[in-house]
């Protein structure tokens, strides 16, 4: 019995172009002139996150915490909810900060973020997920890989639900899609549906 046939995209969040969408509905938007750090700060306030550790994080982790917090708000999920994330630029944004500092004094608080999977760690801590994590690097959004791998975790019982998606950040441009996949919902968890959620706001 293929359990994945009973899996649905329970909830989805999209962060792009100074705007945050929950299930395709805009819940927050800013003037297009707002820079990345202000966007991250103002979104935190407007969404009432109340998580002081947020301010210590690099921008990729902030995007992940923003996204996952809104995505998982008032949702039911177990501690074995897996995280299956991907992007093209790895931790490029903070890597460049570290490269700049290498000529003088290196900051441990910057270096610690120079791995793409740190965002998985931060999300695991915030939402108390002791679960399967993986970070894939892809040249562009690849629904096939996300669906295929999430299904192996769901079908083998290694996870009861999955948060999967794309979290790209380069040169202050961000592009985030996170989906909660579980056995609740109406949108079947298929490559086509995942692709469509990504294309939305990309056209």
């Amino acid at each position: 019995m293929d359990k994945a046939r009973n899996q649905f995209i329970t909830n989805s969040i999209r962060i792009k172009n100074e705007e945050i969408f929950l299930k395709r509905e805009s819940i927050l938007s800013f003037d297009s002139k707002i820079d990345l750090s202000q966007f991250l700060k103002d979104s935190y306030k407007k969404l009432a996150l109340r998580y002081p550790k947020y301010h210590k994080m690099d921008s990729l982790c902030k995007l992940g915490i923003l996204g996952s917090s809104v995505l998982l708000r008032s949702q039911h999920f177990n501690a074995d909810t897996a995280l299956v994330f991907s992007n093209a630029s790895s931790s490029h944004d903070v890597d460049m900060k570290h490269v700049k500092s290498m000529e003088s004094i290196v900051s441990p608080a910057v270096f610690v973020y120079t791995l793409p999977n740190i965002v998985l760690g931060e999300i695991s801590i915030k939402h108390k997920l002791q679960s399967e994590n993986v970070f894939f690097i892809e040249d562009k959004f690849n629904a096939d890989l996300l669906v295929d791998y999430s299904e192996t975790l769901l079908n083998s019982g290694k996870a009861s639900s999955v948060v999967c998606g794309w979290i790209e950040l380069k040169n202050d441009q961000y592009d985030v899609l996170l989906c909660l996949v579980s056995n609740n919902g109406e949108i079947p968890f298929t490559k086509e549906n995942l692709e469509e959620l990504y294309r939305f706001e990309n056209e």
Partner: protein, 379 residues
Amino acid sequence: MDILLQEDSIISPLGFSTSENIKAMKAGNSGLQFHENLRFQNGGFYAGIIEAALLADNFSIIGDATKFTKLEQMMLLATQSVLNNNQLDLSETALIISSTKGNIDLFGNPQNFSKDRAKLNSLAKIIQEFFGFKLKPIIVSNACISGGLAVAISKRFIQAGKFNNAIVVAGDLVSDFVTSGFQSFQALSATPCKPFSKNRDGISLGEAAAAILVSNNKREGDSVSLIGDASTNDANHISAPSRTGEGLYKSIQQALKESKLSASEMDYLSAHGTATIFNDEMEAVAFNRAALAHVPVNSFKGFYGHTLGASALLETILTKHSLLNNELYPSLNFEELGVSKPLNIIQKIEKKELKTALKTASGFGGCNLAMILKKSFNG
């Protein structure tokens, strides 16, 4: 469905094939040597670094060394020697790449290469095109468990019927990027690292590439299968190991459950053993919670240093050969036990009938991995 760990290859300071590496290890050689580096007050640090000229020399048999970065040469050589011994159809063989930082130093200092080459996507593309793999490479970048997680992922995909064969290739360098970062963490050892020892004082970095064929095709003779695997996040801290070893403990329990074996049936344990105070202590706590205190255990870091995204694959390959050779290899540089819980550290080479092994790894971001390997005979 049996998932077999077949041909493999290791490119490291100890040699350019798995057999050269095992021979050097058995002779008690270590890849860790003192290298001059102005970042350090005492003029340098201990690390496992591959001699570039020697590498280029070896590489010239398969390609033009001037056209490839050091890491690319290492990973291409590792892949080539796995492919040499196989008649694989590359139109349906998966390529899974694992690295934490790839060619990261090219961002600051591109030398003769384009900065674009620093991207992990470029690294994967170069390996794909060099050999003509048709499937799009899968790239896993999950800190220090990457190389092992890539093996687990290939197993999961094979079991799901996505493909029958996967080449997993892992590699990382001792880059200035990583060296400066670990130095700021005050995590680097002043001597070659001493995993699990009382006077351990941190990590030695190392570089290596490793490759392995993961397949569901049975062969005659002894073979080693991956029969259980699990990865669990600590959800505790992004860089400090969990005091309770929670994620590692849970990974071990899950992997054992899948393998239908118990802790008492494990013949050998290949630990992560980075030689930082907190990592080794965390592992000792987790192993004791999992009732593994009696199992012969080693860390290979004394031979290689911490090879980051390559380490868990490199050490899985060595674990596989431990099983095939019925040999336990020592935890090099071990002196006196310096963790709060008992461990059965392997101190000299020992011949012993071995059937099962547990390989573990842990990394930044709070990630942990456990894999159960089992030897079987096909007549």
